[in-house]
């Protein structure tokens, strides 16, 4: 290896553990490699819980249609919001918000990112721990009381594995993706098992909490799909920045990241409708005995590990934007990104699990307006002109400094978007107001946020020559 090559590799390794932009020569992922990494990240056991929630309101066929449509719409919104800036400059999702939120205002999406990723990772690792416990109890290896120790122990073990995999940066994501993508086929097999064994029951099953309004149920299925995929916003930048162009990324994003969620969610819809439980490790054991249960558990482990690796990587890169962590060691950032997950898994696993629906609605409430703002800013207000130097210049001299580092148009638009969502759909009770049944809650929230952002920018920001428009 020549000195020049050695230095290049060192720079690349350093860059992928930083939030620094990647040079075009370093962005070597083609469509297939990106697609496989995105599939591995997307296909996790959150799909079962998402499917479970859809199965509360819709039967198998309608549930799939609503969830699939909503997921692809949600994926498009995320791809248009964070995608262009991440693809052009090789930056992560947080950096992509600086032109619209400001040199300090990015802290708002950064906080949302951390909460979202901590939430999803907690869910995944607790799910894995619970599946492990159930299987060990079923096999007679531990007694019923054993779960009190096994759940926290499994969560900590999984966190340690994620930490070790990511010590070398994004190459860990790639390495894990190559191995774990096989679990998607196991997921297809599990779906085939339940559909062939219980098709009659599946067709006859009645959703437990279906409203008297079929349209409300259908719209809620679409809404769950949209918000589920909006939760990819925090992840997407860290992944697609490894690809050199939109052409190489567009199909992998839509097919690799958008489609697996509704496809695997079918397992959760089927499980909750027929067996009243969405965890395949539990219902596969019911159908096929301990062997099937072990296969399902291995699937759960593989699926969740791959996604947790991606999530923690994205969270650690996001932390790098904070001046405090700018020069912190990579292992410290990983500990900070994984630590809260371990704490949730150790101390409040059941409380967190029981409030998944609220967490999901929070995603829509927060990320739909954010996406609306980014799309409006990039396509309508900036006409695609972005200054990479302003993104990384944090002082008052930066073009994206706005007012004290914050863009009041973005803050006003976030408030308007969140308010719109809250009016249309209560994230805690799921009570809705018209015209939710016809328009969902996420789409109007994104639209209103974009509109308010546009108007406030025209009235308050551009006349004062702020924001480098």
């Amino acid at each position: 290896m020549t000195d020049a090559t050695h230095h290049h590799l060192e720079d690349l390794l350093e860059a992928d553990k930083n939030a620094w932009p990647l040079l075009r020569s370093e962005r070597t992922w083609g469509s297939w490699k990106l697609g496989i990494s995105l599939v591995t990240a997307a296909a996790a056991t959150w799909c079962y819980i998402i499917g479970e929630y859809v199965g509360y309101y819709l039967n198998f066929d309608k549930g799939f249609a609503a969830l699939f449509a909503g997921s692809m719409i949600g994926m498009l919104i995320v791809a248009l919001a964070a995608g262009p800036i991440c693809l052009r400059f090789g930056v992560d999702s947080i950096a992509s918000t600086k032109p619209s939120f400001g040199s300090r205002g990015w802290i708002i999406p950064a906080a949302m990112q951390q909460i979202s990723i901590i939430g999803w990772n907690s869910l995944l690792l607790i799910f894995f721990a619970k599946s492990t416990t159930q299987l060990l109890i079923a096999l007679g290896i531990v007694g019923e009381g054993g779960s009190r120790l096994i759940v926290p122990a499994t969560v900590v073990l999984a966190c340690a594995i994620v930490f070790l995999v990511l010590l070398k940066g994004v190459s860990g994501v790639d390495r894990v993706a190559k191995i774990l993508v096989a679990h998607v086929f196991v997921g297809a097999w599990m779906l085939w098992i339940i559909v062939t064994n219980r098709w009659g029951d599946l067709e006859a099953a009645v959703p437990a909490y279906a409203s008297t309004s079929p349209l409300w149920n259908y719209t809620t299925g679409v809404e769950i799909g949209i918000v589920s995929l909006l939760s990819w916003w925090p992840y997407i930048g860290a992944m697609i920045r490894m690809a050199p162009s939109g052409r190489k990324a567009a199909v992998p994003i839509m097919v690799g990241m958008g489609a697996p969620v509704p496809m695997l969610s079918l397992i959760g819809i089927a499980g909750i409708l027929v067996l009243k439980v969405s965890d395949p490790a539990e219902w596969l054991r019911t159908i096929g005995g301990p062997t099937y249960g072990i296969i399902a558990l291995l699937f759960v482990a593989a699926a969740n590990l791959g996604t947790a690796v991606t999530g923690v990587y994205a969270a650690a890169i996001g932390l790098r934007h904070f001046p405090t962590f700018e020069r912190s060691s990579w292992p410290l950032l990983l500990v900070l990104a994984i630590g809260p997950v371990a704490l949730v898994g150790l101390f409040i696993p059941d409380l967190f699990f029981a409030n998944f629906g609220t967490f999901l609605a929070f995603i829509g409430l927060a990320f739909a307006p954010l996406c609306g703002i980014q799309i409006t800013d990039y396509y309508l207000l900036r006409n695609r002109k972005i200054s990479i130097r302003c993104i990384f210049s944090n002082g008052a001299h930066s073009g994206y400094w706005f007012t004290g580092g914050f863009n009041i148009a973005a803050i006003g638009a976030m408030i308007a978007g969140c308010g719109t969502y809250r009016y249309l759909l209560n994230p805690i009770t799921y009570e809705s107001n018209a015209p939710y049944e016809y328009v969902t809650a996420s789409l109007p929230a994104a639209f209103v946020a974009g509109l308010v952002y546009f108007v406030l920018t025209k009235i308050l920001v551009q006349p004062r020559k702020l924001g480098a428009y």
């Binding site: 620094w20 932009p21 609503a66 248009l80 262009p84 567009a250 199909v251 990479i388």
Partner: protein
């Protein structure tokens, strides 16, 4: 614009990326086709199909 507070490696990267030829590419025509086909047209078809089930 003052840049002295930036890490030299970051500065090197910014300088390179300010040249459009060194940047990645935004979505092109083919990308937009797939984005709109898979993100709007396909969901619309699936929604109509699903409602009729």
């Amino acid at each position: 614009m003052a840049t002295s507070d930036l890490n030299p490696e970051l500065e090197r990267r910014l300088k390179a990326l300010e040249n459009p030829a060194q940047q990645g590419e935004d979505y092109d025509g083919a990308s937009w086709f797939w984005l709109l086909a898979l993100g709007i047209m396909l969901p619309a078809i699936v929604l109509i199909w699903g409602w009729q089930l």
